[in-house]
């Protein structure tokens, strides 16, 4: 990285983004910390310019920690969270990644260059998204077991036995800095205890003692364990630009500490709940950051995990009603039935938590992605809904997202984007009038889907190969299994599992559109493909009646058996396309069917579609049917959804259902809700999540934003404060079908 580029990037970072719209924060203390991190990163990158990048990054983070002001926002727990925004620890965007790839590598052939140029266009024009890497669950459990000192000792031993590598040197630098940082918290807390009184004095003293102990040594108590977790998480998010830094199976790995304390009589349920609440508030201090926290779940060593901490997590989320952490519950047939009351208690708050995952399907999905049976049982959720093995998997879960609907748009318009006019390369340029039947058209769609998928994956692999040279993560790597042994950073494939993922978007729109084409063009011959293409180019202007007819009468995924069949066919086909690819870290490509909030953004960049959708309107959310087209209720939707094989979704999927709050009033309805979910799972469903809020409230919230600042809604695989969402996303949520049934 040259210094000029660095400086221009720093200048480009907006410091005053509106609240909730990004990772930065307007409070003076956070702004200060943000600026400090930037200054230190530039300084340290320059100072160590001749060193390998992983060592330079260790110095950057180490010095940031050393110079970061120690701030206490809450006397119950040490920790001050800041998401660093776009600066140095990941590429600013795909175009910048391509720039670096071209600068670094003179051996790129013309095809490689073309692929990368196409990907830049894909990302600009709503065909693809590409997120930063590093959506991960750090090795928190390992740190709680061996302490930071254990990481240092392991690194030293590896250097002695196998020699020094740049990463091992970096690991020593950054782990020592981490220990010093935690010690500074301890010293500051001890000072504050001196000048405080009462509860506050007690709290600061407890924090001080804990920090001084866990700076290097493994925690002895539940409180020390949460305190160490809280500070290691702070260091991880200081290192990573990426959101989606998730916490893993919280109730399982903390249970031994809690049970030991409980047996010794030094903690009770309320005491633990207070500590968990303080920790959750730390997570909530950085909104919209996708910090997923998993509870429950079966594994063959421990059985189903349902303990006091499971219930505390559910109840604390219910009490706080914050958008962080994203709470996920792993369901298994062995889950105690009475846990449903706590689950329903949280679901009916309407925050969209917990998302509910089906263990058996997830185990199989992970194994299909190359994860061992034993590790698959330890999956937890990253970011929205990505299945990941804590501490052992560095998966680029947002490596790519590809819109099936945009493929169709380009086919019908000679490769030209309907919104921007930009031209894309198709695999075949065809005369629409020469397409004689639907089978021919459908086969062509599949070939183009393959073409765009192939191009995007080839390009993403070229870009991923660049990550270790520019954006390594030494501290994260030190916590992860096998990195110290292999001597490699996570971005270089140092840990055990190293997959990349491509996620689909606009699936239901594409299926409905294909069926509309079959019906109106090839069966009823109401209009030709060219005439349809003309209508789409004009956004149906002058053809509103025809648009309404298509929208209201075409077969819809979610209520039509043939649509479900086509979705199943395309899902299997898409999975087969991506399964043949590996990535530069030695991992595989896996498939996800969730869309974050990208279905809204990608929809804005997509022209009118053959299913009667207008230009610019949001795509369907994840795997859910097109908004407002579900007419037969959740059982019928579920039947469509489960036709596809959910074990294809190694990177997770989303089925979002919206219920009116009154639905949950009668006890019989609460019971039925549980059976609905369990039957969905029996039929092979992977994930289901719920919005519980009425349309009127959401419409009112659009008008009176100031009164609804705390209104949390489920978007797609994550929840967010409603008033911070863009208008397209807000409208999309309002238009989802609401099941009332009263």
């Amino acid at each position: 990285m040259d210094i000029e580029t660095l400086q221009s990037r720093v200048d480009a970072v907006p410091l005053d983004r509106p609240e909730g719209s990004g990772y930065t924060d307007k409070t003076p203390a956070r702004r200060q910390a943000f600026l400090l991190r930037q200054q230190v990163y530039i300084r340290e990158l320059q100072r160590h310019a001749s060193e390998p990048m992983v060592i330079r990054m260790a110095h950057c983070l180490g010095s940031t920690l050393m110079e970061k002001e120690i701030i206490f926002e809450d006397d119950r727990l040490a920790g001050f969270y800041l998401f660093a925004g776009n600066n140095f620890t990941s590429p600013a965007n795909t175009a910048e990644e391509v720039l670096y790839a071209r600068l670094d590598r003179s051996d790129l052939d013309p095809q490689a260059c073309q692929d990368m140029d196409e990907l830049v266009k894909y990302v600009e024009r709503g065909m693809c998204t590409r997120g930063p890497s590093g959506h991960v669950i750090a090795g928190y459990e390992r740190v709680l077991t061996v302490g930071i000192g254990g990481l240092i000792a392991e690194t030293e031993a590896a250097i002695a036995a196998q020699g020094e590598t740049p990463f091992r040197a970096a690991s020593l630098i950054i782990c020592r800095a981490a220990a010093d940082f935690i010690r500074r918290y301890g010293q500051k807390a001890a000072e504050l205890a001196q000048v405080s009184a009462g509860t506050s004095q007690h709290n600061y003293a407890r924090v001080g003692d804990a920090c001084l102990w866990v700076a290097e040594k493994p925690p002895r108590t539940f409180f020390e364990a949460v305190q160490l977790l809280c500070l290691v998480h702070e260091i991880i998010i200081t290192e990573q630009r990426s959101g989606s830094l998730s916490l893993g199976r919280f109730d399982r790995y903390l249970a031994p500490f809690y049970e030991r304390d409980k047996a010794a009589g030094i903690i009770d349920l309320d005491g633990a709940a207070g500590i968990v609440e303080a920790f959750f508030l730390k997570l909530a201090s950085v909104p919209r950051t996708f910090q997923n926290l998993t509870v429950g779940g079966y594994d063959s060593i421990n059985g189903y995990c349902c303990n006091d901490l499971t219930r505390i997590a559910l109840r604390t989320c219910r009490k706080l009603r914050k958008d962080q952490p994203l709470l996920t519950l792993r369901w298994h047939s062995t889950m105690p039935v009475d846990l449903w009351e706590d689950i329903l208690g949280l679901i009916t708050t309407g925050t969209g938590f917990p998302a509910l995952f089906n263990d058996e399907v997830c185990f199989k999905a992970k194994q299909r992605s190359g994860i061992s049976a034993q590790d698959a049982e330890q999956y937890a959720l990253v970011g929205c809904v990505e299945l990941s093995v804590a501490g052992r998997e560095y998966a680029h879960t947002e490596g790519l997202r590809l819109s099936w609907l945009k493929v169709l748009e380009l086919m019908l318009n000679g490769g030209r984007c309907l919104v921007s006019g930009e031209e894309f390369i198709l695999s075949e340029s065809r005369d629409l009038n020469a397409i004689r039947d639907f089978d021919d058209f459908y086969a062509w769609f599949k070939r183009e889907l393959r073409h765009f998928t192939d191009t995007a994956i080839r390009a993403a692999n070229l870009l991923d190969a660049n990550l270790p040279d520019h954006w390594p993560s030494p501290f994260l790597s030190a916590t992860m299994d096998h990195c110290i042994q292999s001597g490699l950073d996570v971005t270089a494939g140092g840990t055990i599992y190293n997959n990349s993922a491509i996620n689909a978007a606009g699936m239901a729109n594409a299926v409905d559109s294909l069926l509309a084409i079959r019906k109106y063009v090839f069966e009823e011959r109401r209009f030709t493909l060219s005439e349809l293409a003309d209508m789409l180019r004009c956004d149906f202007v002058g053809n509103e009646s025809l648009r309404l007819m298509i929208f209201n009468q075409c077969a819809r995924f979610g209520s039509d058996a043939e649509a479900a069949q086509m979705m199943t066919d395309l899902t299997g086909y898409f999975h087969s396309l991506i399964s043949v690819y590996g990535n530069p870290r030695g991992g595989r490509w896996e498939l996800g069917f969730y869309s974050v909030d990208n279905h809204a953004w990608m929809g804005e960049k997509t022209g009118a579609s053959p299913d009667g959708r207008r230009k610019g309107y949001a795509l369907a959310n994840a795997m859910s049917p097109v908004q407002g087209t579900e007419k037969h209720g959740p059982t019928v939707v579920i039947q469509s959804i489960v036709k596809a094989d959910h074990t294809c979704f190694g990177n997770g999927m989303v089925l979002d259902l919206k219920f009116h709050p009154r639905f949950f009033t009668p006890p019989a309805h609460r019971q039925a809700f549980r059976y609905l979910v369990e039957t969905y799972y029996d039929m092979g469903g992977m994930e289901i999540q719920f919005n519980v809020i009425d349309r009127k409230t959401l419409l009112d919230a659009q008008l009176h934003q100031e009164q609804y600042r705390d209104l949390v809604v489920r978007v797609s695989g994550f929840s967010a404060y409603f008033t911070t969402l863009g208008l397209t996303v807000q409208n999309e949520i309002i238009d989802r079908t609401e099941f009332e049934n009263i």
Partner: protein, 310 residues
């Protein structure tokens, strides 16, 4: 029940509700039969009454595109600049050409002739959801027993698939009809609208002697019974009524459960869709204190009633 209907083995259905939770236990599929021989003043399903297809017009969806007027062979559909779209129901032959042509879904129809096989196919979509929840199929209406041959065949088919069955009836049918379906019916949802015969006639247009006799007889035969009491403030909530209904139901041991169903106005839009002017009917939903006090009044008379909406 027409003889043609018997031969064709079709029924006239106006709605199929999947994920139905309020017409019997568990997750159910409720089939609504079109045609009723009561005329309850408070009916919230006006489209359930007439045993024939009816054209409905949802004014707020109309885009005034004129497609209906263009295709109507009778000229019954008129697009009028001052009044928007207008339907001459007297001239309409219910050919439904207009509704088929309507792009916006404003023109639609209530009532679909369905064969037993076709209906069974739709029901079986929900089958996986019945087992865990203890659900099944409910036949409601309208009055399903007015199409008793079709109903009987549906019940037999459900039993062949080992599905739990419920029949939701107002009981104003010959006892023979009830007896014919009894062997295939796991549960009767039985409505009692009023006890006093003259009150019942005023509220529903018919006498209730047969309704009450049928209920007692079903009880004696050991049918499982859930009784449902619509509660319409000012109509059927006098202390005498409550006392009499409580006495009646307490003395029928087969009654497992009594549900109080407060009036709601959700059906009003459907009157508009059918161009039915209700005028001022004096109907209103009960307040929460009223609902609680009625529930308690039954309790005082020794009858436990449940109110699912509470």
């Amino acid at each position: 029940m027409s003889s043609a209907n018997q031969q064709a083995k079709t029924g006239l259905i106006f709605q199929i509700q999947h994920f139905s939770l309020d017409d019997g236990p568990g997750i159910r599929t409720t089939i609504f039969f079109k045609g009723c021989n009561l005329r309850c003043a408070w009916c919230h399903n006006p489209e359930s009454i007439h045993p024939r297809v009816e054209l409905a017009f949802k004014r707020q969806l109309c885009t005034h595109c004129g497609a209906c007027a263009a295709v109507c062979p009778q000229g019954a559909q008129v697009c009028d600049d001052s009044r928007g779209r207008f339907l001459n129901r007297a001239a309409c032959t219910l050919c439904l050409t207009c509704a088929t042509a309507c792009p916006s879904g404003a023109l639609t129809w209530y009532g679909e002739e369905m064969t037993t096989n076709k209906l069974m196919e739709t029901i079986l979509i929900d089958q996986p959801f019945y087992a865990k929840s203890g659900g099944g199929v409910s036949f409601s209406g309208g009055e399903p027993l007015l199409q008793s041959d079709f109903l009987l065949e549906m019940l037999e088919l459900c039993k062949a698939h080992n599905l739990h069955t419920a029949v939701d009836t107002a009981g104003n049918v010959p006892m023979e009809s009830l007896l014919s379906v009894l062997p295939y019916t796991d549960l009767f949802l039985y409505d009692i609208k009023a006890f006093d015969p003259s009150l019942h006639r005023r509220c529903t247009g018919v006498d209730n002697t047969r309704i009450l006799a049928n209920l007692k007889r079903l009880g004696e035969l050991g049918a499982r019974l859930w009784v449902r009491l619509p509660y319409i403030p000012g109509f059927n909530d006098s202390p005498d009524e409550i006392g009499a209904i409580a006495d009646l139901l307490r003395n029928i041991p087969a009654v497992e459960k009594v549900e109080l169903l407060p009036y709601h106005a959700y059906g009003e839009a459907k009157y508009e869709h059918l161009d039915i002017d209700r005028g001022s009917d004096g109907l209103r939903a009960p307040t929460l204190p009223e609902l609680l006090s009625i529930r308690d009044a039954y309790q005082v008379h020794g009858l436990r009633v449940e109110c699912p909406t509470l």
